[in-house]
Every structure is written in C-alpha cells, then in structure tokens.
C-alpha cells in the first residue's frame, strides 16, 4: 500500500506521482453542539426535591427547571495525522458544559493498518458499547439532540488495545473489533470508579440499507471512594460493612458483563433503528445496591427535504440488591426502577455543516409502589431542548 499522505500533497500541488512528501499531513476537524433546555414537568423525590434529567452521565450534564445551556453543550477538536505506511495518529480534545468546558483528552491513540483487513489501535479510545458510541459526542452525526439515555454509560473511554478486522461477505461489509484495556474515572453519579480487565468483542455488518451490530464485554468494576479505609466513615451502614469486611475497592472488584444488539434500516427517505442493551453486576454496588440495567429504544425518522421529523420510544429497568454478602445495603427496596420515555423531535439541516434540532421528551416512572414510596417518582420528567450542531 502506498502512503496516503502522498495523496494530499499530489492533489494539493496538482502534480504527478513524482513528488515525494516527507511531511505528514495533519488534519484538524472539530465539532460543537450548543444546546439549551429545561424540564417542564417534574416528579417529586421523597425529600421534596423535583426530579431532574441527566442528559450526559459522564460529564454530569443535568437539566432542571431552570433553562440551562450546559448539560448538552459540547465541543471537540480532533487532530489526525497519517504518517504513511499504514500508521496514523488520532487525538481528540473535548469539553462539556457539565464540566464547565474543562478541556479533556478524550482520545489519544495510534492506528496501525497491517493490511486492508487488519488494524491495531493502541491508546485511549472509545469503548464500543453502543451503535452510536463512536460518535456519541458528535451531535451532527445523528438525528437526536442526544441519543436515548439508555445508551449512556458512566464510562465512555478506555486505555488499551483494539484489533479491528474489516472485510466483505457478498453485499455485506463486516467489521470485527476485539478490545482489551482499563479505565478509571471520577463520575458525579457513582463517584470514583474504575474498570479493569475490560475484555470484549463487537461485530458490525452493513449493506446500503441495513446495519446490524452485536457486542459483548466483561470487566471488573471497583469503587475508589468506597475502598475499605473509607467505608467506616459512611453514616449508619458504613460501620456494618466495615465490620463484615466488605470492600468493593480494587482488591475486591465486582465482575460485570455487558451485552448489546442493534439494527438500523434505511429505506428511501425513512429509517428505523433499534437497540437493546443489558448489563449485569455480580453483586450490588455498596450504598445504592445498583446491580445492573437493561433497556431498549426504537426510533423512526423520515426525511422531507432538509427536515427530519422523528419519534423514539425507550424503556429501561435498573436492578438493585438489598443484601451484599449477607449484610444489608443502603438501598432497602428490592424491586427495580423502571421508566419509559417518548421523544419527538425535528432536525433541520439548514446549512451544509450545521443542523438545528428541537426535541420534546416525556418520561414516566413505571416503578412498583414500594419503590415509588421509597424514592418518589424520581425519574418522571418532561424535557424541552433545542440546539445547533456544527462540524468543521
């Protein structure tokens, strides 16, 4: 394979293959999403507070009943350089409103293409949890203001290795991803947590009209802020756990598994897409008792000229465990937290590199009576949001 960097220099100079290019071409691209929104109807928690809407878990993007431009507002700058002979480097700096736009190295990895089929990516990169994972931050790449929150993890990225195999099967393009690595993150919702021994595979196949995807991974999850030395400090139940010798620190992580399947069908100017995800934890997390979640969404859209009206139904169930190793946990209700939501929205491609989006989401808390009594209708909320996504 000839170095691709030749391409750029040849085309730029309008010359022939005689030119030798030593300097790598560096490509800088970026994306910005500026989104504002507010909740319009809220549930009530048991402490009397109103429910909120978490738009972006990893960056603590949360809407309440005041108009805010932070939760979904996001920028990113990507620098990529093709060094030739199959080697390229990719770096991405992002900043999110939920984190006061602190610049953050989302990705930094190098790609080595052994041949047309196999490539290795090494460094910090996206975990391929979902159909939309790879471009989760790039609002322009999808029709929603944000993908359904059922496909929102507290951890997005990992540091490690990924082998990618691309190929063909008749009319189908295929892609297999095998990955291994780890990550640690401070998340507002769960605290400091880490994922170790991430090991997974994703398979994707597509034609002009159809996309199918499946992924499975396992990992060890540990809680840094609940390491054994801190547990006794937790009010009331902390001493109980400490006495029982319970820790979910990195010496005693929780095994987790994740499964996802997705499909998308584009027909004419319409599309339908659906995704199902399920995560399972070997034991509940100390404090909340959270032990896994499952959910799905189905989304339909139809393009009329520059406008794409769309509708999405999504449902989610989160499971909890009341006892850990025979000791009571902080969460005393065993029944799951259940909710479902309907989102209607419109995307308007008013500019070749920008789209305007407006969306209304209504979510109901479908949990059983004992959970509603314990938590209130904590996930019941209506949200209005609108914004502009730009790529450059």
């Amino acid at each position: 394979m000839q170095p691709k960097l030749l391409t750029a220099s040849i085309l730029a100079a309008g010359l022939t293959l005689g030119a030798t290019a030593q300097a790598a071409d560096v490509r800088i691209n970026g994306f910005i999403s500026v989104v504002g929104g507010t909740t319009l109807s809220e549930g009530t928690l048991t402490n009397g507070n109103k429910s909120t809407f978490t738009a972006n878990g990893p960056t603590n993007g949360v809407y309440d009943d005041d108009i805010s431009f932070k939760p979904d507002t996001m920028f990113g700058l990507q620098v990529a350089s093709n060094l030739g002979k199959g080697l390229s480097v990719t770096g991405q700096i992002t900043g999110a409103g939920g984190e006061d736009f602190d610049a953050n190295v989302a990705w930094a990895y190098l790609t080595y293409e052994f041949n047309d089929t196999w490539a290795l990516m090494a460094g910090r990169q996206r975990i391929p949890f979902y159909l939309n994972s790879d471009y989760l931050d790039v609002g322009y790449a999808y029709h929603w203001v944000r993908p359904p929150t059922v496909t929102d993890s507290v951890v997005d990225d990992f540091e490690g290795l990924q082998f990618r195999r691309t190929g063909y099967m008749g009319d189908w393009d295929t892609r297999l991803q095998l990955f291994a690595g780890e990550n640690s993150a401070t998340t507002p919702s769960v605290g400091d947590l880490g994922l170790e021994s991430i090991l997974g595979a994703a398979y994707f196949m597509s034609t002009d009209q159809l996309q199918l995807r499946a992924t499975y991974l396992t990992a060890d999850l540990y809680l840094d802020n609940l390491s054994s030395d801190k547990i006794p400090d937790i009010p009331i139940i902390g001493p109980l756990w400490a006495a029982a010798g319970i820790s979910q620190g990195d010496s005693n992580p929780i095994g987790i598994s994740f499964l996802g399947v997705a499909a998308r069908w584009d027909f004419g100017s319409s599309f339908v897409m659906a995704e199902y995800v399920k995560s399972e934890f070997d034991e509940g997390i100390l404090g909340s008792g959270f032990a896994g979640t499952s959910g799905y969404y189905v989304s339909l859209g139809h393009q009329v000229g520059l406008f794409t009206p769309h509708i999405t139904y999504s449902a989610r169930e989160s499971d909890y465990e009341t006892m850990i190793n025979g000791v009571t946990n902080g969460n005393f209700v065993a029944s799951p937290l259940e909710n479902s939501s309907i989102t209607v929205g419109l995307r308007w491609d008013f500019h070749p590199s920008a789209a305007f989006k407006v969306e209304y989401l209504t979510r109901s808390d479908d949990s059983s009576a004992d959970r509603l009594a314990a938590n209130g209708n904590a996930t019941e909320v209506d949200l209005f949001s609108a914004g502009i996504d730009v790529i450059f």
Binding site: L11, Q78, V138, A141, S353
Partner: protein
C-alpha cells in the same frame, strides 16, 4: 427511489444553475480512471472505494477517490445513484467516520475538467465526471 433521485438531481441542477448562470445540460455521469488501470470495477467496488471501505483496486494497487466540489450536480447524482445516499446522509456518514479516526472523505478537486486532468496524470485516482467531458485521456469504467 427513482422519484427521489430525480428530485435530488433537479435540486442539485437548480443549485448548479444558480452558480453557473445557466441550466447545466449534462448527459450523464461517467466514473473514470487512468487509461492504464485495467481493473474491472463493479458499482459495489466503486461505492466501497468512495465510502472509504476499500483502499485498493482488485489488483491490489492503491485506490484514491476524488470528489467534485460540494453542490456540483454531478456529485449529487453520483452520491445518490452509486453511493445510494442523499446529500445529508453522506455528510452524516463522513461525520461518523471522520470523528472516529476511521476514515476521511475524498479530497474535493473542483469540476469535471479538473477531475479528468488529475486522473489522466495519476494511475491511482478514480473520479466521476459529466459524461460529455470524458475523452481519450481517461478510461470510463462505469456510466449511468
């Protein structure tokens, strides 16, 4: 599907007309390569090369696709007919690949005459032009 194509072409032609000051009377689209390129290319091969899924010709040599300027009628026609996407879909497609480090869109090199001239000089390139602009300096591998 056909109706949509016609609509796309019409819209693109109108856009072209505004730019050129006259309704572009082009006869069709020809996919062209260097005359020395002996590969037999199917519509699927061409589509894969232009979508960044395939980086070489069937004989193993490097394939470099080149695009016409954004908004060109020939480009819209090529994208809808061969790539089976409309203008917004192709932009979203490249946004998805670009920001995942999986690929970069083909370079834009101007209009049919510019594409033809570049391809006549470089055996790796593949492009598409208004059929009326095809001549002996390039080889037509696909026409619609």
């Amino acid at each position: 599907m056909k109706y949509k194509t016609i609509k796309t072409v019409l819209a693109a032609s109108l856009a072209g007309a505004t730019l050129l000051g006259s309704v572009a009377a082009w006869s069709g689209v020809a996919v062209i390569v260097h005359p020395s390129n002996a590969n037999d290319l199917s519509a699927t091969d061409i589509s894969r090369i232009f979508l960044g899924k395939k980086k070489s010709y069937p004989d193993g040599s490097e394939a470099i696709p080149v695009d016409q300027k954004d908004g060109a009628a020939v480009r819209s026609s090529f994208v809808s007919t061969v790539l089976k996407k409309n203008d917004q879909q192709i932009k979203a497609y490249w946004a998805q690949l670009l920001f995942t480090g999986k690929g970069t869109p083909p370079k834009e090199v101007g209009a049919s005459a510019d594409v033809r001239q570049l391809i006549a000089e470089n055996p790796a390139l593949i492009g598409y032009i208004d059929s009326a602009d095809a001549d002996g300096s390039v080889k037509v591998v696909h026409q619609f």
